[in-house]
């Protein structure tokens, strides 16, 4: 596939140097500082000191167990809905799109040319208590007459789902598009029903896309706090909200740092288990 250069010598390292150096200084080192800070104790009045304060971690889990669980919950539900919602469209574009594939993909991606915050604020307007959506749901008796959508978990999950849709749809499309339609034909020639053909042939072949999409959606969603802030109420706060307030408002850096690591660790564990379960080894390649 790729012919490696004969006289490579130091060339690859030279090519890598600037970028890797930058990332080391501004990604790896900060994480190190964060780890260091997570074991500190103190406050902004009298300063912080490094005291191997492992209790920061323990306290964080104990005190904010609810928010951690809620973050995973919301992110998982949003990912699931994103998957279910985008799969048919990705399928349609991949198999029936023809010449118009790229144009149709643009329809999926275009809404996300509008700033994330502005989109979410638009949802705040759309889901407002006296807005069209809520009134319709009330007429259909899907929502109580005093019911509302804003400041509920539903709105937050809906916001997360919406905001991360292209992260699910695009990888799905990419892997579906690569499936050779003749394989499906072959399955049907062998008397499989359309449905069977889908489940036994198409879906398994699209699995790499499903995996990539799930990861690309779940991971950022778990750490999100904007949807919870704008569309949710005090009962819908995610761990991102707590980290944000601990860092910037309470200036409780050690606790905030510990929580950040717990979040990261949780996500990495999840990614690892998920990769094992689904069996894709080229995780890094899948991301490409």
């Amino acid at each position: 596939m790729n012919v490696f250069h004969r006289h490579q010598g130091a060339t690859p390292y030279l090519l890598l140097l600037p970028g890797v150096l930058f990332l080391s200084v501004f990604f790896v080192v900060p994480l190190g500082f964060l780890a260091y800070q997570s074991l500190q104790s103190g406050n902004i009045d009298f300063g912080y000191a490094f005291t191997w304060q492992w209790s920061n971690y323990w306290d964080a889990i104990q005190n904010y167990r609810g928010e951690f669980i809620r973050s995973i919950e919301y992110a998982a539900i949003a990912t699931f809905f994103a998957l279910v919602a985008s799969y048919p469209v990705a399928y349609w574009i991949a198999f029936r799109g023809g010449r118009w594939k790229n144009l149709l993909l643009l329809f999926i991606v275009a809404p996300f040319f509008v700033t994330y915050l502005i989109r979410t604020l638009a949802w705040e307007t759309i889901l407002s208590d006296h807005g069209f959506v809520v009134r319709t749901l009330q007429t259909l008796h899907l929502l109580g007459s005093n019911g509302r959508l804003l400041a509920t978990g539903t709105a937050v999950v809906a916001g997360i789902t919406y905001n991360f849709l292209p992260f699910m749809a695009l990888p799905l499309y990419v892997s579906l598009e690569q499936i050779d339609a003749r394989m499906i034909e072959a399955a049907e020639d062998l008397y499989a029903s359309k449905w069977h053909a889908f489940w036994r042939v198409t879906f398994p072949l699209s699995l790499p896309g499903v995996v990539a999409g799930t990861l690309l959606t779940f991971i950022p969603a778990a750490g999100d706090f904007i949807n919870a802030q704008l569309l949710g109420g005090p009962q819908n706060h995610m761990i991102g909200n707590v980290i944000q307030s601990k860092f910037l408002e309470l200036t409780d850096y050690p606790a905030a740092a510990a929580m950040s690591f717990i979040l990261m660790a949780g996500i990495l564990v999840f990614v690892f288990l998920y990769a094992r379960l689904v069996g894709t080894e080229q995780l890094t390649g899948t991301a490409a």
Binding site: F33, L34, A85, L117, I219, F247, S260
Partner: protein, 282 residues
């Protein structure tokens, strides 16, 4: 590629015919609904950019006006925020793409010790929640006086998270690259540098451009990482956040729409050109 093998054993039954009509078009119908759902908030944003709000809050439609567009910078602070966002996006995307392209070249074309670790290093920022990226950078900046909070810290942060995107984009193109073209050039007497200049670079240029655009889009839109590291500087997303708390003025919608239209136009042109090319080739 259009459908599908003839359905076996289907009797000429009107009910079955209806059913197969539905089956054939349900995907289309669903997709149309899906697109409508995606575009709903965008439509709201665009429509309300033309609204003349009754009072301070832009939530109910009052009357049509061009004023918001004409006086888009009438709101104090919005112009400097937009300018800052554009500046940062431009510089960050250039630097990130340059660094990322170099890394992609090294990763794809060379086998060296540490290749796997480099891959992991590139992958990690993509799989770290933005809040952790922002918070850890803040922690770093709090422990040094070498950088000033504001333009410098924001720029560094943006370059950092854009590099991975650039690498991934360019890498994808490089992986499918036909090396024989380069070999042919070298067989014809070009040295490695000239080959790179005249053959490789033009061929991966679309990928570099794509990486540039991707980084630009990501940088202009970034909120979380910037929020943690901006000091008292205000980029456009930060401006929106602040303004929204007391009622975002319609000018926010104007800028949002403008960015949307520009990006959409660029993408459309690109696609239509591609479609035309493939049609000609066919």
């Amino acid at each position: 590629m259009t459908s599908i093998a003839v359905e076996h054993g289907e009797r000429r039954n009107p009910l079955a015919a209806v059913w197969s009509f539905v089956k054939r078009h349900v995907l289309v119908a669903y997709s149309v609904l899906f697109f409508a759902y995606l575009l709903l908030p965008i439509a709201v944003v665009i429509v309300f950019s033309f609204n003349n709000p009754p009072g301070k809050f832009n939530y109910t439609w009052n009357s049509f006006t061009w004023d918001n567009w004409r006086y888009w910078n009438g709101v104090p602070g919005i112009q400097s925020a937009v300018v800052l966002s554009l500046e940062i996006a431009l510089i960050a995307s250039l630097i990130a793409t340059a660094l990322g392209t170099l890394i992609a070249l090294a990763l794809v074309r060379y086998s060296f010790r540490g290749r796997a670790s480099t891959n992991i290093l590139i992958f990690l920022p993509l799989s770290t929640p933005e809040i952790v990226l922002g918070a850890s950078l803040l922690t770093l900046f709090l422990h040094t006086t070498a950088v000033t909070f504001g333009f410098e810290t924001i720029l560094i942060a943006h370059i950092m998270f854009c590099i991975s995107f650039a690498v991934v984009t360019v890498k994808a193109r490089l992986v499918g690259f036909d090396r024989h073209l380069e070999e042919a050039a070298m067989d014809l007497g070009a040295n490695e540098w000239r080959t790179f200049q005249k053959v490789t670079l033009p061929l991966i240029a679309p990928a570099i451009l794509a990486a540039l655009l991707l980084c630009f889009a990501i940088s202009i839109d970034d909120f979380v990482v910037t929020y943690f590291n901006s000091g008292s500087s205000v980029t456009f997303p930060l401006f929106v956040w602040g303004a929204a708390r007391i009622g975002a003025p319609p000018q926010v919608n104007v800028i949002g729409t403008a960015i949307f239209v520009i990006a959409l136009t660029a993408a459309l042109v690109n696609i239509l050109v591609q479609m035309r090319r493939s049609k000609d080739a066919a």
